[in-house]
Each structure stands twice: as structure tokens, then as C-alpha cells.
């Protein structure tokens, strides 16, 4: 399976919660009308400028191992290395919201509209994750068995060196959706994400953030992700129990 995916902008609208979180405003905080107006303005611009697209390509474990090895700069032990052999399905992916939003952010900064520029930047970061979510859903719906879960990992995070992008790009060819790789291994447009989708039992994604590089991670977003997987297992188990009880 190798697919170029198009989405409507309204499928990836960044939520207020995610956007404000990227501005350092956590859920439940009291916010001013000014901030609400900025968020609304940023979403309007996002809808106007974003051109989302995605690409996904299935890959075998052996082929992925060669890509993951990259330039040989990964940390000695990483979650990706520990998990991918346990996965049922793997796919490389990339998603972008296009160049337009980035250009608009720069224009706003140039026009000294800092607050709106900052809010649009946050909305764009949240929006591109939504685009990656859509790619993930496509993979889940079309390739992965219903009881399995998909989690994505990207070069530059969790010990997977950013230079891994080179081999990932050679295989996936995200240029088809307008993403190019700079010599420094960063993508253009900046608001793009790439990586591997791993489908399998939820348990394969459980790990403790005690790898050596975890000490310099500011987000520890893996904790929330693993907790979400645990919750989904719990809900699924309850549904099974409920169905069994009803059948009795």
C-alpha cells in the first residue's frame, strides 16, 4: 500500500485546547477575550491558507530496520528499536499543511502582528498533528486489524536521530506532496511531520521513559500517549464484559 492522501482543511482544524496549550495556556485556565479573538482569527487564517496532504507507504520490518539505522547516529537503545519488531504492520508516513500558513506567519511577524503570528504558528503546529492523525486513521482503517492500535514515531525524537530522515525520504518520497528535506534534515514546509506508523497490540507501545535521552526531554508526551492506550484497553475490556453480561 502506497497512497497520497488529500484532506479537506475542515478535517484538520486545530482545536482551541491544543492551540492554546502550545501557547502555554493549559485547559481550565481563565482566558481573556483578546486571546479568544486571536484564536478565532488564527483559525480563520489557517482555513484560508492550509493545503493539507499526506502520504503513507507500508514497509516490511527488514526494510524499516535499514531505514531506522539511518546514518548510524541513533541512541544505542530506543523505544522504536524495541517496538518495531513486535508490530504487526509498519508504514512510513508524512503529512503537511503546505507552505501558505508559514508564509502568512512570516508576513504577520513582518507586519508586527506578533500575537496573531504566534497564535497562527501554534494553530499550524496543532493542525499538522491533526493531518498526521488523519494519515494514521487511514492506515488503521485500511491496513491494521480493528483490535490493534497505531502509534507514530518521528526522527528527531526518542533517540531516533534526525538524520534518519534521509533514508525515510528516499523510500517514501514525500516530495510528491510538496515536502522537501533540507541538508540539515529539517523539512520544508516547516509545518510537516514524518515518521513511522506502527500497528499492533496496544501493549507493544508501553515503555518507561527511562532511556538516557529521556532526561533532556521537556514534554514526556509518551506518558500521556501510553496512558491513553491503557484507557482504551480498559474501555474495550469493559465493553466486552458488558456484551457478555447482556448475552447471558
Amino acid at each position: 500500500m502506497r497512497e497520497v492522501l488529500g484532506f479537506r482543511v475542515d478535517e484538520i482544524v486545530p482545536s482551541r485546547r491544543d492551540t492554546l496549550a502550545l501557547q502555554g495556556i493549559s485547559a481550565g485556565k481563565e482566558i481573556s477575550r483578546n486571546i479568544l479573538e486571536l484564536y478565532d482569527g488564527a483559525v480563520r487564517l489557517f482555513m484560508e491558507c492550509a493545503r493539507p496532504a499526506g502520504i503513507v507507504a507500508e514497509i516490511s520490518k527488514d526494510d524499516f530496520e535499514a531505514i531506522y539505522e539511518g546514518e548510524g547516529l541513533n541512541e544505542p537503545s530506543t523505544p522504536v528499536a524495541d517496538i518495531f519488531r513486535k508490530a504487526d504492520n509498519l508504514a512510513l508516513f508524512a503529512a503537511t499543511i503546505g507552505r501558505g500558513v508559514h508564509d502568512r506567519i512570516n508576513a504577520l511577524f513582518g507586519n508586527k502582528d506578533f500575537a496573531l503570528a504566534g497564535m497562527l504558528d501554534a494553530a499550524a503546529s496543532a493542525g499538522v498533528e491533526r493531518a498526521a492523525d488523519r494519515v494514521e486513521e487511514y492506515f488503521l482503517d485500511n491496513v491494521v486489524s480493528g483490535k490493534m492500535r497505531v502509534v507514530r514515531y518521528s526522527p528527531g525524537y526518542c533517540g531516533w536521530h534526525v538524520s534518519g530522515q534521509k533514508k525515510l525520504f528516499e523510500y517514501l518520497k514525500p516530495e510528491k506532496i510538496g515536502i522537501i528535506l533540507r541538508p540539515s534534515c529539517l523539512m520544508e514546509p516547516l509545518k510537516s511531520v514524518s515518521g513511522v506508523l506502527m500497528g499492533g497490540k496496544p501493549e507493544i507501545h508501553f515503555f518507561s521513559d527511562r532511556y538516557p535521552f529521556c532526561s533532556i526531554c521537556e514534554t514526556h508526551s509518551c506518558r500521556e500517549r501510553i496512558e491513553s492506550l491503557r484507557r482504551s484497553i480498559h474501555v474495550a475490556e469493559q465493553q466486552v464484559q458488558s456484551t457478555s453480561s447482556n448475552n447471558l
Binding site: 481563565e30 506578533f114 529539517l186
Partner: protein, 231 residues
């Protein structure tokens, strides 16, 4: 999420008529990010023969200091700081031509950039905006800046501080290179360094020998003020 209209403070009409009242109103307009209001107030202040230096220090910078304090106390958030920063920039556009005549010095010169290999510049831009708002002269080198460019520019422009930003853990070592090269050239006492960015920590800053670590844009300004005072 709560909705509040605590921001956008009302203009202090009760003070109208005196110089102090105008400065107070400028401070309030700045805090509310009221660019139209601040433009009117500045015109009024200048028509009243108020010195641009007084407007800057007792009105605008005083206002930005309050904004910084409110941010630190979590009373306001980053977008509100940026609204105030915009008002500050609008005000500076009005005052700048007058400073040349009045010769009001900047607090100091700061070279700033995102390190080589990294093109994430939102955090760096915010610090640059805040620095300008606080009265510093900022030389923004943009992103993907090689170590040599930081140092050559700082030497050439006689900057007191180099500010470096990185978002990727893989580009963090470039910060260390800049600090090492400053030491090799005997410039480490004269040119101070501050680093920041999502993966950066106080511990990392200490480990590589940076003079300061800016947790966020507001704190970075406080640190830079201290570094300049020490230099």
C-alpha cells in the same frame, strides 16, 4: 475554559491633564495592547513637549515591565504579552526618529539567532520582540546560524550578549561550539551567552558553560538585563 475580560484595562481618564496622567495612560494602553490608543497618547505627549526619553522609560518600558511581571505571576499569557509588544513597537516607530535628536541610548546590543541546522524560529522571534520592547538593540541573524557568524557579528557590532535558540536536541551541540570558540578567542568574559528553546534546560546551560538560560521570552529578558549589567 473560563472567559474573562480582565484584560484591556480602561484608560485612566481621571488622570487626564497632567504629565504623570499621560504616562499612566500610556502604560495602561500598552498593557492592553491598544495600538490606536497608544498612538493618540504619544502624539498628545509629544505635543505637550514631553521628552521622548521620559515617555520611553516612564511610560512604555514601565508598562512592559508590568506586563512581564503579570506574565510571571501567571495573571496573563503569552499572546497578551505579544499584544503589548506590538503596541510597544508601534510606539517605538513614533519615538525612534526623535531619539536620534535626543540621543537616548539603547540598554545594550544583543546578537540573537537560531543555531545552525535548526530553522525553528518562533521562540527566538519572541525573545527578539521582547528585547526590542525592553529597549535593547537587537541584531537578529535569523535561523540556521553557524557558530562563527554569531561570534563575528557580536565582535563587529560590539554586542554584549549572544542569544542562541534551538528546538532540536540534535542542534544543541552548536551552542557549545559557540561558547568554546568564544573561550578560545578570549571573548567569553566580554561577550555573555544565553541559551533557550524547548529541549534546553538550566542543567544543560551550566554543563556547556552558558552564562544564562532563558526558560521563556520574559525570563530571558530579565537574564539579559542582568548579563548586561554585569558586563
Amino acid at each position: 475554559m473560563w472567559l474573562s475580560n480582565r484584560f484591556n484595562p480602561p484608560r485612566a481618564i481621571i488622570f487626564e491633564g497632567s504629565g504623570m496622567a499621560l504616562l499612566e495612560q500610556i502604560t495602561l494602553a500598552l498593557q492592553g495592547g491598544d495600538t490606536d490608543g497608544i498612538t493618540e497618547l504619544l502624539k498628545e505627549a509629544l505635543a505637550d513637549k514631553m521628552k521622548p526619553g521620559d515617555i520611553l522609560n516612564s511610560g512604555l518600558i514601565a508598562g512592559m515591565n508590568i506586563v512581564g511581571e503579570k506574565y510571571k505571576q501567571h495573571e496573563i499569557f503569552l499572546p497578551e504579552v505579544m499584544l503589548a509588544a506590538r503596541a510597544m513597537h508601534v510606539a517605538m516607530d513614533i519615538l525612534k526618529p526623535l531619539f536620534m535628536k535626543d540621543d537616548v541610548p539603547a540598554l545594550g546590543r544583543v546578537v540573537i539567532g537560531t543555531v545552525q541546522g535548526d530553522i525553528h524560529d518562533i521562540g527566538k522571534n519572541l525573545v527578539a520582540i521582547m528585547l526590542k520592547g525592553a529597549g535593547f538593540e537587537v541584531i537578529d541573524l535569523g535561523n540556521d546560524v553557524p557558530p562563527e557568524t554569531f561570534i563575528e557579528t557580536a565582535v563587529e557590532k560590539q554586542a554584549k550578549v549572544i542569544g542562541m535558540s534551538a528546538l532540536l536536541t540534535t542542534t544543541m551541540p552548536v551552542m557549545k561550539k559557540v561558547i568554546e570558540q568564544l573561550k578560545e578567542r578570549g571573548l567569553d568574559g566580554r561577550i555573555k551567552t544565553i541559551i533557550g528553546g524547548a529541549p534546553i534546560s538550566d542543567e544543560f546551560a551550566r554543563r556547556i558553560g552558558a552564562d544564562a538560560y532563558g526558560y521563556d521570552s520574559v525570563q530571558a529578558i530579565d537574564c539579559i538585563k542582568k548579563l548586561v549589567a554585569e558586563s
